[in-house]
Subunit: 204 residues, 2 copies
DNA sequence: ACGCAACTTGCATGTCGTGCAATCATGTAA
DNA sequence: TTACATGATTGCACGACATGCAAGTTGCGT
């Protein structure tokens, strides 16, 4: 049992979360130690003290358990952006939207560097992570289209902006890791966003 | 396109290529008809007239057989870009590099719309496709860094540019499909590249 | 015709992922 | 406290996936 449950008694929800954490911890641990493909689900489950079957009650696959649990820009914030003040710059608003989300990364807490290390070792995980992150890309794109106009060209523009958000987040996080997790992730992501800003200046 | 040999019009090479095409065609056909997850490798192989085992001699998985066979930007071209003329604009060169690659999509010929339809139906395929395409992202990034300078900020900038290339290709191809495959893919990709150009103007 | 090399195939094996039903634990109501 | 209801855990069965290996089969060149 790699993860521990200081208070196994109070509440079902707590227990479930503890199990989830234990499974993720075991996946991370063993994955870093021997490489994810060389680790079987059976081992992970055993390390977390549950049955193999239970693992699949929590995650659809090994890889799923190895992904960061971040993001989800709140739908309300996105809606607000869509209807957003015409006075403000759209890209600036997007920057703020995602930068705020970066602050929530704390969820995975001190394990974050190890997750990043595992992702560096198995690039497929990066793409899985990105795919999960990008579920919101479509929503972001339509929010942008709603705000900036959805003529044919506007659609392309909205998609490019949404895609650029993904790029900025990805590059920002990557370099946050490469520089040894200096300061908040937010700063690195904002820097990446800033580089793309000239492409999205508002026109009259 | 460098010195290739489309020569062996007869012989084993031809047979292998035919088998490969048959397997891809069967995957596409059955996947569109019933959804890719509902089709087993066994069925695909049978439809193509080979054994299940043989399928795995050609592709590592069902999904692999459902991906477009786009070629990579030739390493030589990339090296040329890295050493590229300082007079030219880097982003313009990248645009040309990737746009030329788009012309090679013709490989999958008239089936392309059906591939895109399948990818639209199973978004995971889009990410797999992107992941394959983006194997070169790292190489592209270092080529850019080599050309523009690899100080810390330059590194981030290079990664952002490389990521933006991916975004532009992705959005371009997507809208090419959405508009009914009007004209060459190249035009749509170039349009997406153009939108990002202002972010990458050369500075003095 | 012969032999070599490459391609195909069947078989065995291990892992993955899911549906199902029995069991166990926990929080709640009597 | 006891009984019950809800829901989590687990074993079992099953089919699909993916790969290694060794035996066949086919075509190519000499």
């Amino acid at each position: 049992m790699i993860g521990n449950t200081p208070k196994p008694e109070h509440g079902r929800e707590r227990r479930k979360r503890a199990t989830r954490r234990a499974l993720r911890a075991a996946t991370l641990e063993l994955g870093l130690e021997r490489g994810l493909p060389e680790v079987s689900v059976e081992e992970i489950a055993a390390a977390a003290g549950v049955s193999t079957r239970t693992f699949f009650n929590y995650f659809a696959s090994k890889e799923d358990a190895a992904l960061l649990e971040m993001l989800a820009v709140p739908a309300a914030d996105l809606a607000a952006f869509a209807a957003g003040g015409t006075g403000r710059n759209a890209w600036a608003d997007l920057t703020r939207l995602f930068a705020e989300d970066m602050d929530r990364i704390g969820q995975d807490g001190p394990d974050l560097p190890r997750y990043m290390a595992l992702h560096e070792r198995h690039p497929e995980l990066q793409w899985r992570q990105l795919a999960r992150f990008a579920r919101f890309e479509a929503e972001v794109a339509s929010a942008i289209a709603a705000r900036l106009g959805d003529d044919p060209v506007g659609q392309v523009r909205a998609d490019v902006m949404a895609g650029s958000c993904i790029t900025a987040v990805r590059v920002g996080l990557r370099h946050w890791g490469l520089t040894g997790w200096e300061g908040p992730a937010r700063a690195h992501v904002e820097a990446a966003f800033a580089m793309l800003a000239p492409a999205f200046r508002e026109r009259a």
